[in-house]
Symmetry: C2
Subunit: 193 residues, 2 copies
């Protein structure tokens, strides 16, 4: 069965970036190790051993338009998986990498459905925490919450759970792995009875 | 040397209570085990083995007036340690447990100084996270941050770091202990060079 995993790097007080989108020390662990994980990441062995199989399970990523615009859609190549779904009221930019496996849909519910459709039964859907992830979470569409907790306090900024404003129970974390400047935690969402 | 430890139970998104002071499932782990820790807590063996020596090291607790009022000062008996310092612009209530080892001071800086003075060299000062803890943290008066992270999302409420609104680095956690409905984390604060 496809698992929908919400993910991001996060400060100990729940922020994924400053209000200005700066990630500051949150991304230090992506560059402080010996193992080349991707074009973007060279991490410790402990983190690589956790992240590599996690990334390999991702079939489709779901992100917001803001992330897409900031990264210029990673130049048309999904940073994980074979497909990428962008939640956006605006269409795909004209002329932008016409062959890139990017799909533009208008809402979060539709985006998760599209991502599941694009993803094989034995693979996962990854959802970027923040605005889009928080909406999916509040709709009950997220199965697991993956938090890479960095030992920094942010004080303010963009929240991991976006605009979520109600209580939700998670299970105890089934993954607790201490890396170098990051603590990898992964929780199943407790399903409402 | 006396270590100043900021502590509270906290949701995965950084809240220590709802806006209405309700802690909801944050305190479930205080009652879900076999080991009687105090009048208030019966926890799992894993949590007891962590909390008991931690509590025993506390010489003095520092809390805000709001907590004091909510608990009626624990009936005059500090829940840990031998002394308790209350940060408050208002004096000790008239006639309230005249012999209780409670000290009322006007500001956070003064409160930490008073707590250190009352605490033996080989014991710790505990500071309640939230408004008072956050102020002490921002003033650079906190040496360690202890977070008992409960697998629940709050969405909004009272923040562990209070009104802190700047970035601060912590060291990697030196304690990572998984209990039942709680993950005990403890970080040293990275001192500014």
């Amino acid at each position: 069965m496809t698992t929908v995993v919400m993910h991001n790097v996060v400060s100990v007080d729940g922020f994924i970036a400053g209000a200005d989108d700066q990630v500051g020390p949150l991304f230090d662990w992506y560059g402080n190790g010996d193992v080349q994980l991707s074009e973007y990441a060279q991490v410790s062995k402990v983190s690589a051993d956790y992240v590599r199989p996690t990334m390999a399970r991702i079939g489709t990523l779901v992100v917001g338009r803001h992330v897409f615009d900031m990264t210029d859609g990673w130049g048309g190549v999904p940073p994980a998986g074979e497909h990428l779904v962008v939640v956006s009221h605006r269409p795909r930019p004209q002329g932008w990498h016409p062959d890139a496996p990017f799909h533009f849909v208008g809402g979060v519910e539709e985006a998760i459905a599209k991502a599941k459709e694009l993803t094989g039964e034995d693979r996962d859907v990854g959802v970027a925490a923040g605005d889009v992830g928080g909406q999916a979470f509040a709709l009950g569409l997220v199965d697991e919450v993956a938090m890479d907790v960095v030992p920094v306090v942010f004080g303010s900024g963009k929240r991991y759970f976006g605009s979520v404003d109600a209580q939700y129970l998670l299970e105890d974390p089934h993954t607790v792995i201490q890396g170098d400047r990051v603590l990898h935690l992964r929780y199943r969402v407790r399903k409402q009875p």
